[in-house]
Symmetry: D2
Subunit: 370 residues, 4 copies
């Protein structure tokens, strides 16, 4: 390492359960096709809390978390292009799909066309660790190193970094869920969960022309955000029983129940309740169960078979969801203010506090500004 | 009642848990648009066992069971036509959709287009009781009275009554399930359950061009029937553990697991197992849970969300499924011998024995010949 | 006919090409299940112009046109219910599906499930003539006689007769087309035609979350209506060449062309142009060709095969489309003002002028107030 | 070039309309990830005739045609794997997707997910010319050079080279068309065209459980092949009028017409005829129009709108279609003998005769054995 080597600071999870540390890494060598970003902002999402508790398998600690981030291109080596064939250049403000390395060569990619189940996928900030080189693989860092073939997209004209980070990974995730939900004009849609995924799903259901959108969640801070987006109805899950919610939802939807329910709570108990709430021959999209919180009892007869129910599990996002998310912010940013979800900003030294605030649901969206 | 009144004998369930009785009913008055059939044969299905134990709600005992039947038209009043506009006439050998009274006027029929959830549906042999008049509403009877607007279909040329009754209600049910399963050429399909629905689903998967069809079930008599239909692989659920089945199915399907699993066992425990067995981003059709056998534990994270699984509950049949079933017997009757599923025939006095044989799985298909 | 018989006035097309006459008909006898409406308003649609020229086959002149109408229930005999099972009562303000008699018994209804192709369908104001009895089968009349099993729907709270009639048959038709169009959030949608169907399709595309909606049509009066609904882009088809339109649409949609094109112009020439305009692997819904205006040349190689194009012809509406239309007016009536499409109102004596104004496109929507 | 350089012979189209020449090329340098095949056989398809006449745009003559081929791996450099992750090794008998270079990085690949419209696609034997290096890009050659990232698949156990080449590019093309056709059990399917695509579509429709499969084509040699595959009905297009065919098809399909028509003839005139033949609310897959043979007249009203028709243009294949084709040969090779389509084999010097025989339809499938 020469005396002139530059160093970058990053917030690191050394191992599950260990306190966050700010560490310093040398600037990486830029490969052909790679990009170095100066981080503008990176989100804290519920997954980061789970990462801190060691609840995900296959995570190569030490880890620099931060899978959805925005930055300014500081260095780029060789030709790097966006999906429209336009070059990514120094000074561009960009974001990127956190998933990298979907192989386009395996049976899942080419035959099953289930690219979110490609076994070669890696995720910045989750399954790419802080080491070995090239490192700088997460957004809670002054710089982010984007390896060749990372799917990069410029922040569109009129979209602020705050809007993108306020939406965070919840928006592309919700775009994917909404795709599976196939909302028709006038459909009645219930969202279970009022975290970032639930709030974005609420917004997207409204933008899709739903005839009624309800949200069951907590705490009130988040339900208020749902109402500010335009939700027709909200109910606090911590203040009500499942029977009360069933009665209230039936009443609010004209007796039949919602045509579509989207589970975005992560609570296994939400699943049998969603099966109860959705109308007969309806559709139930389960997108919130990203972490294993154990089993739950369902009744196959009344919840699925007799109900003639369609259930769609929804795992991961691909680049199309990031691209659509950007289009949605351009188109509907004046109608839905995703930046309003940002409750608080934290420096690299404050990451521990950010995680605690997210876990305690004291914030809707916490943002790291390195 | 005049001295010349004709009487017809029928096997009746007087109430749940009570022995079957043979009772005698006067010939009904034929309304305009109605048809009286001289019964040729009627099936015993698993639902009849549940009816005998009183496991279904809303059944108006006393009941003449027998929802899939075949008969010869003895009397018809006024013009009664099939879907092609051809008149139903005396002497025709016909069958009919057991569901009657789907209203084509309610929200489920007209807006949701979920006609199998129409609240006005009635089912011959299940929710139409032996009384009051007009009665004769089930097939375990010398005559069956078909009310106006019953969907009647002639037994097609080349299709024997034995083929139709051997297929029984399992075939239209499987036609509906296969519709939801959307089997592509070469798809690998696993069937859970080897009763009449499972065996028909096995046959239909093969006829749809599946690349591999496996059946998990019991007893051996039924697994042998599956193999005689062409199943590539069978496994006895009573002789193996779930881990052994998982390993064996993975091995038989090239590692990924089947693209599609169809649950036709009625055992709640089959549901989490099916979620395990099906490949990532696959499809799971649940058609066997027609009776409530209680709750079961599933893991929403690994079974649905991370798996990116599509689950389709499948309730009931409509006339299209009966029509397609007839077409399938015409087309493929020489390839799949549904009449071979008939293990034994019973007269009206032997109905109790038939029910016992079905419950003990000593027969694949029991047929009542009044 | 007793001295006390009531008579109702109606505007009648005696035969193709003949001037409209106002004739008088006796009040009909109300059958069990039938309803008599006092007409509040009835629309004039482009089809009525074609009817006047005799361009439709199978029309039983003399005819009282007016297939979408709104009225107050004056008489009802027996129980008549809406899809939610609520009774239709005297004094209710209602509208109804113009299609009557879809049989729910033929192969198209029950097997193909293509109810808009049921050969038994009749249409008020088009294929039900002024004679024989019961008559009063169109809306350009003081009273409308709704036969048993007409699908009736109450005007929802907050929806004005003007909104419903301003939307007219164009709205349910567009609801059907939009269903086939499967617009995703951010989809770019081009509408060909700015008549009532095109304008409603424009509105519904916007409400469905389209990322861009363009309209090609004429005259300026209608394009202005499209813009008032929120269209992003309009172009006058009479002032531009097809090459200019292609260039402009490509430019406005980022180079690829719109993801979805909806043809609502009725001009055969629009079809090859739509095939050119839509992007590769896009979708083209053809809903405007309700009358035969002759053949047109297309290039199967470049327009369909190489383009990997999906084309969906869209014929007719069913009750679900009327029901959804009502829901849309309730939900989005404050955002899209369909009543603004009403340019002029005409009494029964002025129907000839109304037809002339519609044909000359001097009005967007002409309304008959009997 | 060293004295020890090896040379390979190939049949070359020097330019449109010029006679085929056998030329000699030096063995190429093998890049990392590339494979050199010793050609076992290569097909002649209708496209090759069009190439010879210069009817395709963007072809870089001189050209070594032959896009579907089979060969033995002679050399491989670095790790080359199949979709299951198994290495491709010297001595393996393999085939490959003729399309190369689908980028997985552009808007068509990542956002529209219309990979067959990726502008970066190249096709061996069509858009990769004989020059410049590395060359040997077509199958009418002693060796074929497979560039890195070519999608290679081993000939499955039990599948003969003759079966694969007899099926040729027609089979994957038909797999794609059948995917869009969504054939249900019992569907009635009509194929227009009896060339290799039409014959494979006929076979696949039968294997998918179609209730009736008819073929309109010529000459008799090919119709006989269709019948040997199991077609229920064939008609010689050169011996009948369109009216006769319409009458005959209606009759053979019970009056309604086929549920699904697949156009595989390449004749523009087939398109309006197919629109006539298909039943109302049916589906029409257009897969045969791979070359521009000019415009044709259709009637948008009666052919598309009133018919409520779904039309699906089908362009190109991707690797999933090749993979499914191999699975189909494994599964159904004993039922459908694709090798029987090979009428004649030709050496490299006989390629001109092969093209003439294909053009004159004297053969079903001509195979080049270099």
């Amino acid at each position: 390492m020469s005396p002139s080597t530059t160093f970058h600071r990053a917030a690191v999870m050394p191992a599950p359960g260990m306190p966050i540390e700010v560490r310093t890494y040398p600037a990486p060598t830029i490969e052909e096709g790679a990009v170095l970003l100066r981080t503008i902002a990176s989100e804290v999402c519920g997954t980061d809390v789970h990462l801190h508790h060691g609840r995900l398998a296959g995570v190569p600690y030490p880890l620099i978390p931060g899978h959805v981030s925005i930055g300014e291109v500081e260095r780029v080596r060789g030709g790097v292009y966006d999906v429209n064939g336009l070059p990514i250049s120094r000074g561009d403000v960009v974001t990127f799909l956190d998933v990298h390395g979907t192989c386009n060569a395996c049976w899942y990619c080419l035959v099953a066309k289930a690219t979110t189940r490609c076994p070669h996928r890696k995720v910045y900030g989750i399954t790419y660790g802080a080491e070995p080189a090239p490192g700088l693989a997460g957004g809670w860092s002054e710089r982010i190193y984007l390896r060749p073939n990372t799917r990069i997209i410029r922040l569109a004209h009129g979209v602020t970094p705050d809007a993108w980070i306020g939406a965070g990974c919840g928006l592309p995730t919700a775009v994917h869920a909404i795709e599976l939900a196939r909302i028709g004009l006038g459909s009645k849609v219930l969202i279970q969960g009022s975290g970032p995924v639930g709030l974005s799903a609420c917004a997207l259901a409204l933008l899709s022309g739903a005839g009624w959108v309800g949200v069951i969640g907590a705490p009130e801070l988040r339900l208020a955000a749902a109402r500010s987006f335009g939700a027709d109805w909200t109910m606090d899950v911590t203040q009500t029983t499942d029977k009360e919610r069933l009665r209230a939802v039936r009443h609010a939807t004209g007796g039949h129940g919602p045509d579509i329910v989207i589970e975005a709570s992560g609570n296994p108990q939400a699943v049998p309740e969603g099966c109860e709430l959705v109308r007969d021959a309806g559709r139930y999209v389960i997108v919130g169960q990203y972490t294993d919180h154990g089993d739950v009892g369902i009744n196959p007869h009344s919840h699925i078979n007799k109900k003639h129910l369609e259930i769609r599990g929804c795992w991961g996002s691909d680049f199309s969801h990031v691209y659509r998310a950007m289009e949605i912010l351009v188109r509907f940013g004046s109608r839905i203010d995703w930046s309003s979800l940002i409750t608080k900003r934290y420096g690299l030294e404050e990451v521990g506090a950010a995680l605690a605030d997210v876990e305690a649901q004291r914030v809707v969206k916490a943002v790291i500004v390195p």
